[in-house]
């Protein structure tokens, strides 16, 4: 970086980098649209209108952003502890399944009991699916990227089995249609609606509250301090007497729990009030388990900034569907575009971190101590070592980073 920029300028630039990356991906998408014989200007204006152009569009965007925010917040917790969680897809599925089973098998209870019960069931399902790779990483040194991907595969098969078999809507068997879906779940478990809307439920509010609570957890509690300390340097954390292994297992468990909550909200906030699958994970999650990672990166791995980042990304997805309908291209285009956005945002992320470090160079502090646990470390430790400084520049006061 030969051009001298003030701290302020660097901050603004660092901020805009992930957004610029999204635009770069959309530019790539424009080329694809041209090749498909569609007008990219028409496509993208339809996209914008479809995402933000009306009250209904905004509601759709906010509802789409909700699972992204839950997952993204969980991703922030995991990444701050230097754990990569690729398993949110599977954790969402388990959360959805646990919540669905709670509603199917528990006796009918009033709404103010039933809604918390299904949400807690979702948390538990996701937590279980996060705890497994967490414990495997902490105690058996199993690379969490691989174990979470494998658990995604297990989760989708489990979902297909349950929704085709034990949990299937009896009416589907009677009719012989056998669509893999549950019956309409009990009404008292429906997420309460807000503002007299027929579909705007409490999910988005809950997600925002969870993001704020996560901020407090990470920067204002001893547990949050331990999570971040382990993320910055396992070696130092161990010397400080922090139970590193337990903290790693806990980070993935918490991350999974929030993804599980997203799964529960997806089922009980849906308009059909059933759990449905088309036989793939995406059929249930809409790739929110992967896109939540991007939302977290767009938000600079900060829970509060993940809120607007999820909103933007939700708009991208809702708008993408509008674009696809308007210019009549196969919906596979949206999956491909989604992939491009992931690649561009992740590739640009390093430059954001670099801009946020004080001297304009990436601060890549390498752990000098090689503990047994370090062997399969990811590069996150190196990439995000400068991140807490970034946190300050997002407007939080210095004391936020101090140990309580």
């Amino acid at each position: 970086m030969s051009i001298h920029l003030s701290h302020q300028q660097r901050r603004i630039l660092a901020y805009s980098i992930p957004v610029l990356a999204v635009f770069a991906a959309l530019l790539f998408g424009a080329i694809m649209l041209v090749l498909l014989g569609a007008n990219p200007f028409e496509g993208y204006s339809e996209m914008f209108i479809g995402a933000f152009g009306s009250g209904n569009a905004l509601i759709a965007t906010i509802l789409k952003a909700t699972p992204l925010l839950f997952v993204g917040t969980g991703i922030v917790i995991a990444f701050r502890a230097n754990v990569i969680n690729i398993g949110a897809e599977g954790q969402m599925v388990l959360g959805g399944l646990f919540a669905t089973m709670a509603a199917l098998y528990l006796p009918e209870m009033p709404s103010f009991i039933m809604v918390p019960v299904i949400l807690i069931a979702g948390l538990a399902g996701g937590a279980l699916w996060g705890w497994i790779p967490g414990a495997l990483k902490a105690y058996y040194r199993v690379n969490e990227i691989l174990s979470t991907i494998m658990l995604n595969i297990v989760a989708v098969q489990l979902m297909s089995y349950l929704l085709r078999g034990p949990l299937i809507d009896p009416a589907e068997i009677e009719r012989g249609t056998r669509i893999p879906q549950t019956e309409r779940l009990m009404e008292s478990a429906d997420l309460p609606l807000l503002f007299g809307s027929d579909r705007f439920h409490i999910g988005p509010v809950l997600a925002v509250l969870v993001a704020i609570a996560t901020y407090y957890l990470l920067w204002r509690t001893p547990l949050g301090y331990r999570l971040r300390a382990v993320g910055l340097s396992e070696h130092a954390a161990r010397y400080a007497g922090i139970p590193v292994r337990r903290t790693i297992a806990l980070a993935l468990t918490m991350s999974g729990a929030l993804a599980g909550l997203a799964g529960a909200v997806l089922v009980f906030g849906s308009e059909s009030h059933r759990m449905v699958t088309d036989g793939s994970t995406m059929g249930f999650t809409g790739s929110a388990g992967f896109n939540g990672i991007v939302a977290a990166l767009l938000g600079g791995l900060h829970p509060i900034w993940t809120i607007p980042a999820s909103f933007l990304f939700g708009g991208l997805i809702v708008g993408g569907q509008a674009l696809q309908r308007a210019v009549q291209v196969p919906s596979a285009l949206i999956v491909a575009l989604n992939g491009l956005v992931v690649v561009f945002v992740v590739a640009a992320d390093r430059y954001r971190v670099r801009l946020l470090s004080t001297d304009g160079r990436a601060q890549e502090v390498e752990d000098d101590g090689k503990m047994p646990l370090d062997e399969e470390d990811s590069a996150l430790g190196a990439v995000y070592d400068a991140a807490p400084m970034g946190t300050d520049s997002y407007g939080q006061d210095e004391s936020g980073d101090d140990p309580p």
Binding site: L136, S147, A332, V346, E375
Partner: protein, 310 residues
């Protein structure tokens, strides 16, 4: 049960296991080169899907299976190059960027299929090549020596890869860059250059693996690989970063898959439980990862981007 596990059934299962193992084997072998040099490419499945579609499309248009393989290889090479730009030059977090490549491949292959083909039309498959004399041995011949040329070549590539990695200068550079990039850099080895080379090899092999899969099945459909690329990545760990270990892993997976398929066809596994049976490979992988993590060590620079003088 006894009448089910007849010799004929077992012979068919073993022969099909070998065929099913080959795409996994090729993709995992390619991934090994990358990982030994310190790059984790999680986008293998996406590259396989695009390789599969281009292979399928080329055969559909030319009726030549070898041109299909070539098309898969070229597409794989280009995507390997793109993966190298992302991981090596842009130093993106490899655990996530690969998911982006996967989603891109998943969507793009489906999009191209819908736009260019539409309805699944079967294509020519690889011609079988019986090895003289050996293929006439009862049972053994049918299991091992009545396959297509690609299958024999894929298994031949194992000793070749072992030789390249362990006995050549290029292989030594790959290992040096994967274990001690700083030292390799000091000695004048281009860390970025070696990693570009291994990513291109990996991409090309993944593209070929996809094309082999499509041509072996004689068809293309949305998400044809069904996660095979991710299994291939896990196989690299399973085989402890050694080609021979990877081959054994691929054969085991091929066998499990073939057995599950056969048991489903014979309705030993009720249709209702077939999803549970399909979990087997993923669960075996997780258990194997526990075992491998106790005994073997990943290349120490794996997933760590290299910056000189840090």
């Amino acid at each position: 049960m006894s009448e089910v596990f007849t010799t004929a059934v077992m012979v068919a299962v073993v022969a099909s296991a070998i065929r099913l193992a080959v795409p996994l084997l090729l993709a995992a072998l390619g991934e090994t080169f990358g990982q030994r040099s310190g790059v984790l490419n999680l986008g293998v499945d996406g590259i396989m899907l695009l390789g599969a579609f281009s292979g399928y499309y080329a055969v559909l248009k030319t009726d030549n299976v070898w041109l299909g393989l070539l098309a898969g290889a070229i597409v794989g090479l280009v995507l390997g190059l793109a993966s190298a730009v992302i991981a090596v030059t842009l130093k993106a977090e490899q655990g996530i960027s690969g998911i982006g490549v996967y989603l891109f491949g998943l969507g793009m292959s489906d999009l191209l299929f819908q736009k260019l083909v539409g309805t699944p039309i079967p294509i020519d498959q690889f011609p079988g090549v019986d090895i003289p004399i050996l293929s006439d041995i009862p049972y053994i011949g049918e299991m091992f020596f009545q396959h297509s040329l690609v299958i024999y070549l894929a298994f031949l590539s194992i000793p070749v890869a072992t030789f390249v990695i362990n006995r050549t200068t290029f292989g030594m550079k790959i290992r040096a860059v994967g274990e001690y990039p700083d030292a390799a850099d000091t000695l004048g080895v281009s860390v970025a250059g070696v990693r570009y080379a291994t990513e291109i090899i990996g991409g090309t092999l993944a593209g070929i693996a996809g094309a082999v899969l499509a041509i072996t099945l004689g068809i293309f459909q949305q998400n044809l690989t069904n996660g095979a690329g991710f299994i291939a990545i896990a196989l690299v760990y399973f085989g402890a970063w050694r080609p021979t270990g990877i081959m054994l892993g691929a054969l085991l997976f091929g066998f499990v898959n073939a057995l599950v398929l056969e048991l489903k066809t014979l309705e030993i596994i009720p249709r209702d439980l077939s999803n549970l049976a399909s979990m087997a490979p993923a669960i075996i992988t997780i258990l194997a990862l526990v075992f491998v993590a106790r005994r073997f060590r990943a290349p120490s620079a794996l997933t760590k981007p290299f910056t000189r003088g840090k």
